[in-house]
Symmetry: C2
Subunit: 892 residues, 2 copies
């Protein structure tokens, strides 16, 4: 579901003795708006005014207010004279400031006209460029640019755009005409059409215009402007825009602003240029100006990745003055926004203009470094820094990197667009990457360049390699956003998509060959290179330290092995919230004993099989307790249905029969007998302990014996026993009694008389447990929410079976997110809150945690903080994410 | 879970100037207690006092109070002299009243000593009979009874019982001795032992007593009494009794009373006798004295069914005076208790004693007739009558009876112990009946007589036939309690359990032959006799009329066919709360079209298959709407997962492939693709309508077309559309829109412009739907609780899979009842209440019902009444049960 977006709209009311201001100027002479005025000037208008007012050189212009648009649409849809008077007044100011004149034959002022509401809103009229050109002005542009081809091209673009956007004439009519004239002149590329061809094209465009509008293309620039403004106003109410606002529940907005802004050109010669840059390195976070530029080019040339641009540092060698202006721009923007910025700039004949600035996308590593650096630079506070790093992005820092000791068969180097270490086979198209990944292969997407339609394949691949494009090309930007390993501009690589091969330095690789990409160095290597655990940075440690200082939630981990426990502890886990015992039974020979136990006919037989499992369990627990010494280890008693331990494979059944000296029929019969229609709702969890008490006794014995042996070795073991899938207090009462009796019996048998405290708690994972948490709390030392099962039962969704309808549910926005990824706070969360309140009402001291997979999801963690859980438990690799997310929830 | 039983115990406090009364007498001369004094005198003592005080001849005696027991146990465990003084005083009164003397050589007074707390409580000391006998008194008894054997037998029983119960000597010692002496005298039956043998036995018993107690069996009857009283007091605190009170949370009781009562004997000669009787016919409810008696016999001889007794009316021919006394007893008891009574009586030498009276068990038919008759007789009110009939028992009235037109191959007649019509094959033991029923057979249990260990087999069988025993024999009483067809005392039947045959009138029937029993006439017939719908009695109609007058809940029905709808309407249903559409697809050829639809590759193909199903659905709906005209018919859209309509049988798959012109591989592949791990939580319910909207469109089209055709035929059709398994408001919003659009489109296509109102509602059957019922209510015209699924998801129990642990859960009292039989009011009920409150808070007018199987369960209906549902919907046969249960909930 979409969150309703409600904008509090303060209606400006015109009092009788006060003139309504309809137009706000931004430029060197004055800047009438600021960033707070989004409702009145729209987002774009407010930002342009803000940038201008802090002294940055933005192409000057003016903004017509959103209320003007509302008045227009709500009255008689006529532009009032008072408005046009104000527009003309502002235009005059613009002419004065730019020293250009609207419609001038010698030095014409050209403007862009754009819509811009308080919220970004697709569907409305977009952009008209080059407005102000006419048959005379085009000559003036030709003169000042000393580039007739450029001027004619600008003019034919204006006619096309104006006809399409303002007059609603089909764009294909113009395209067809363009094709006809190109073919007549024997060229295929737009850029190759001669001046003569362009003149012919302009005449043909005007003819189309005349034939479809019954009038000439307007030569009066003021008429062009008036019609463009009206077109923007009207676009507010076109069906697509109206339905967008309805769907997104955008209410309180009454209209769009109109931005009229001077055109600047980076392609006016060798003293012009254009570029994009980040104020810091978006891959590493290093505080250095980072970007690319092209001399005598337009902005789209850089982004499209067609011409390989130069690093922005090269500006120094081209125009030292401009370079220093850029550095100053960086300084001002960071001081103003206190954030790393992603800017677009253009140099028109030696004058630097800032076209756009926004918060820059970055990798997780960069986000951490920038946040920590900005604190030490005095820009932001620790709590602000904590909020700056998207918690999920920390995962990128924990990804393995190539082992520097490993041998590398280096092939070439490209630009290190996004760090990481990726090895995979070669996929040559996005679809191929998706399909092969789906079939279980690990692939790299290898492309000359990427475009938006490749996004699916880019996401599927473990790494991306392109032969062209720079650090701000499509592939680079998208990959960094995801923290996915990416190398771009590896120019020595020749990709042949027809033979599906990659040629580099005389060597040829096909789809089945493996390459490795080092996203931190740009190195491309043959074969798979060994990885090792990441080296965590100092900034990471600092950020984690701050997180720990602010967070209220404890962060525990889900770990079933000593190795996992060790790793989680290293990442900052403060306990084990879920130690699953079932995985232990699959190791080595144990599965045979486990099967013998399941196949047993009587309590006694079952007991004998369990006796063989006991020493293994005890040793497992000892190692885990030792790894976590001084911290709680919550052991969950056996949970899955017994049939999960059996095999349906006939051969394996025969083999097992031989080993256990049983008939294969016997094994098949028992396997069939244990079959369940809905195993998720079947004989599992504490239901096993009720019907097979000897399993519980074995497990509790193993835990207690391990604890005693640890105590004797002076290891501070802190086991806790967790009973799964409880739905009634009686289950807990009876099983708790059995656990306590077993602990006492083991102590007596071992002649151990020191105190060992083993808290006994329960999972809350059936809705009924949540509903009766008050009764259950009386017999539990702690609650742990098993949100995987709780989500399954609350929705009635089998996690294994939702693939057939979940995509449709997300598409149709029936669900905003997969509820198994991010906690459903409305439904499942309601049960959680209820259980906490009921539980604490009956036992104030009860410890409450969560150990479903949601424990590693930042949005879910924020909820856990809000409702007052004591801890969340997540997989070892998510521990840092959880620590940060918990801190963010606390400081928000 | 057990309900905690809390008895408010008003502690009697002895004030300094008031003597505590420890013993309460009941007898002709005075009766000091009454039925209100259960706390002080125990249940048994209070009742004996009550019966005595209303003038009935009960063997006189006295009761020692429960507080005396408490004092004994809480102080020094010494019987105080003041107590024994009171006991002796009361004994003297007893001697005077009975004209017998304690320990007398000529006419000895014998008493029984029994415990009796305020609540029946197994585990405490039970009964000592014949107390007061000693070596002298036994001679007196011999003289007065003129039956030395009887007197000696009574004496040896006392020694045995006293040694066992009071002194704790093992009972087997006495049994072994008895066996030894029987064998020495060459007899096998106890009753065959001669007078000499009994004398020998008494001597041997005394020897055992002496050897184990170190003292002689007490000859002083006062000492016997003193020791017996102490034993009762002490038994209050034996571990078994203490733990019983703990488990059942019985608090507030401080001790047991002791009842000392004169012994009477029905076996003192031809002027003695014993019997049991009901004040009305427990099978039909007819107002006639109904029972059996035996001359010169003890009570257990009647109940055990060993001697076939005479009907109680025969007392008239034996002793006219006694018969009139019995009729007077009936009158007094019914006037006093205002209920049909089940009495035990004994005639000792011409004097009639009432030994016990309690509310009599009866069949459902009898319960209805007695309740209605008692209202017309002025005994009780209508609301009392409504509460008198256990709602579930009405089911018995709806059982089919044999069609009187059907041909009957009559074999013999027995006693019509419990009405009904049963046909089945012959099972010769209880175990056999259980096993064969389990394997799907329908069997009659055929036995010479039954005993408590046969109860399982009696329950499994559809009917019970015995060759001995009377109307109050074990088989008759138990069968009537269940409303199960039973014929007893069919003396012409010879049962041979070794050859497993039944011989009757020269014909032989074996285990595979079928007999039919008419429980209303006692007729036993060969073969299966056709049944027909039951003829409902006038009393039933009267009771239902009263129920309808008092109940608040509407009673709807779950019906999928016109026949079911018709039947339910006849039983008083006021609408259809659940019309499942899936069953309609299994009829005849439709399943092929359904499979074609499921196997379709595209929306179009699917649409074509659905078009073939449409006319069938429309006709089904038309017939159901017509059957229910004027009443709502709630149609649930398709609910089960599609794979339920496919077959896994390879042969059937091949056949289907041929019919649909597809490859068998294709069918197998699609079947496998649709397989789900947990289908209960899978792609079903409204999830089908989201992903296959064309199914919804077909169904809604069929409903709307049927409604239009009904309207055109002036039939008042009232369809409602119910969307299953909703978990989010968005599902309902989107599907409701689709339903509304479809209805509008059908109306337009049919050029039908009159209004048809089709309310659209949802099932509440996932916990999330209940939790978000406020949001869902905004888009629903009604809610219907699907408590089957809601129970599954709230507990996390798959109904199909609980058999492996539910019995253990019930045994261990983790669950008090199967939650699929009777609503779990604590957990599931909490969600229901929440949903009602949230739903009505957002839409006060919303109609709320329940259509799970709980809709026919009286306890669940009481809950539904309490939480304010508008209706419950149950299977047609449960409709009368539900009507009565709803009325009971309302008047309680």
């Amino acid at each position: 579901m979409l969150n309703p977006i409600q904008i509090q709209y303060s209606q400006s009311q015109e009092t009788s003795n006060q003139k309504t201001k309809r137009v706000y100027y931004f430029g060197k002479s004055k800047s009438e708006g600021n960033k707070e005025m989004k409702e009145l000037l729209g987002g774009k208008g407010a930002n342009l005014a803000e940038l201008t007012s802090i002294g940055l050189r933005v192409p000057p212009g003016f903004t017509i207010t959103t209320t003007t648009c509302a008045d227009y649409n709500e009255s008689n849809q006529q532009l009032s004279e008072v408005l046009m008077d104000e527009v003309r007044e502002n235009l005059r100011l613009l002419e004065a400031e730019t020293d250009k004149r609207f419609g001038s034959e010698s030095n014409p002022l050209l403007v862009s006209v754009r819509s811009g509401a308080a919220l970004s809103m697709p569907g409305m009229m977009d952009t008209i460029l080059n407005l102000g050109l006419n048959d005379n002005a085009v000559e003036g542009l030709s003169t000042v640019s000393t580039n007739r081809r450029f001027a004619l091209d600008a003019y034919r673009r204006l006619i096309n755009m104006f006809a399409d956007v303002v007059m609603g004439i089909s764009h294909t009519l113009f395209e067809d005409e363009f094709d006809r004239i190109k073919s007549k002149h024997g060229v295929t590329q737009d850029a190759d059409l001669s001046v003569g061809g362009l003149e012919e094209l302009i005449a043909a465009y005007k003819k189309i215009y005349r034939e479809h509008c019954g009038q000439e293309f307007p030569q009066d620039p003021y008429q062009q402007l008036e019609q463009a403004i009206e077109a923007v106003f009207k676009s507010w109410n076109i069906p697509r825009a109206v339905s967008y606002r309805q769907i997104n529940e955008i209410t309180g907005l009454r209209g769009t602003a109109v931005n009229v802004q001077t055109m600047v050109f980076g392609n006016m010669g060798e003293d012009s240029g254009t570029g994009v840059a980040f104020t810091r390195d978006p891959a590493t976070g290093e505080n250095r100006f980072f970007g690319e530029f092209l001399i005598n080019a337009q902005g789209e040339d850089v982004v499209a990745g067609i011409r390989t641009p130069q690093p922005v540092q090269e500006v120094l060698n081209w125009r030292k003055d401009i370079y220093h202006q850029l550095l100053e721009l960086k300084r001002i923007l960071e001081n103003h926004y206190l954030e790393m910025q992603d800017i677009e700039f253009t140099i028109e004949r030696g004058t630097l203009y800032l076209l756009q600035t926004r918060t820059g996308k970055r990798t997780g590593q960069a986000a951490v470094k920038i946040a920590v650096d900005m604190v030490s630079e005095g820009h932001i506070t620790e709590t602000q820094a904590l909020l700056r790093v998207p918690a999920n992005d920390l995962n990128q820092l924990l990804l393995p990197t190539f082992n520097p000791q490993a041998e590398r068969d280096g092939l070439t180097k490209g630009l290190p667009a996004s760090p990481g270490a990726a090895s995979g086979r070669l996929a040559f198209s996005a679809d191929e990457a998706v399909d092969r990944t789906h079939n279980g292969e690990t692939v790299l997407l290898v492309r000359k360049e990427t475009s938006p339609e490749d996004v699916g394949g880019m996401h599927a691949a473990v790494g991306i390699l392109t032969s062209t494009g720079g650090m701000t090309s499509h592939a680079a930007v998208v990959a960094r956003g995801w923290g996915k390993c990416c190398i771009v501009g590896a120019t020595k690589i020749e990709i042949d998509t027809s033979s599906r091969t990659v040629k580099v330095n005389g060597r040829i690789f096909n789809a089945q060959d493996t390459l490795s990409l080092d996203g931190s160095t740009g190195e491309v290597m043959s074969g798979e290179v060994a990885t090792h655990e990441p080296q965590l940075t100092e900034e990471f440690a600092t950020l984690m330290e701050w997180a720990d200082r602010y967070r209220k939630l404890n962060i525990w981990t889900n770990a079933d092995t000593p190795a996992d426990a060790q790793r989680a502890r290293q990442y900052g886990a403060e306990g084990i919230g879920l130690c699953r015992t079932e995985h232990m039974f699959f190791e080595g020979d144990r599965i045979t004993e486990m099967r013998e136990m399941i196949l047993a006919d009587s309590h006694n037989e079952r007991g004998r099989a369990l006796e063989k499992l006991l020493p293994w369990q005890r040793e497992d627990f000892k190692k885990i307790f030792t790894a976590m010494q001084g911290m709680p280890v919550t052991v969950r008693l056996l949970d899955p249905p017994l049939h999960e331990f059996l095999t349906h494979d006939e051969h394996a059944q025969r083999e097992l029969a031989q080993r256990l000296n049983l008939t294969p029929q016997r094994i098949k019969a028992r396997t069939d007998q244990l079959h369940e229609n809905n195993p998720m709702l079947g004989h599992r969890g504490c239901r096993l302990s009720i019907t097979y008490p000897e399993i519980l006794v074995m497990q509790v014995t193993a835990i207690t014996e391990a604890a005693i042996e640890c105590a004797q070795a002076r290891i501070d073991a802190r086991p806790e026993i967790m009973i799964p899938l409880v739905g009634t207090d009686q289950e807990l009462i009876q099983l708790r009694r059995q656990v306590e009796n077993t602990i006492a019996a083991v102590k007596q048998a071992k002649d151990f008389h020191d105190q060992i405290k083993i808290p006994i708690g329960t999972m809350i994972e059936t809705p009924r447990a949540a509903l009766t948490a008050d009764q259950i709390a009386e017999h539990a030392d702690f609650f742990s929410f098993g949100t995987n099962d709780l989500t399954q039962m609350t929705f009635g969704f089998s996690r294994d079976d939702i693939a057939s309808f979940l995509p449709e549910y997300l598409n149709r926005e029936i669900l905003a997110k997969d509820p198994f990824q991010s906690l459903d706070t409305v439904g499942v969360g309601q049960l959680i809150e209820m259980a906490i309140n009921k539980g604490r009402a009956n036992k104030e001291s009860i410890k409450v945690g969560l150990c479903g997979e949601h424990g590693g999801d930042p949005a879910s963690i924020a909820f856990c903080h809000k409702v007052g859980l004591n801890y969340v438990s997540c997989s070892p690799f998510r521990v840092p994410v959880a620590r940060l997310a918990a801190a963010q929830a606390a400081v928000k």
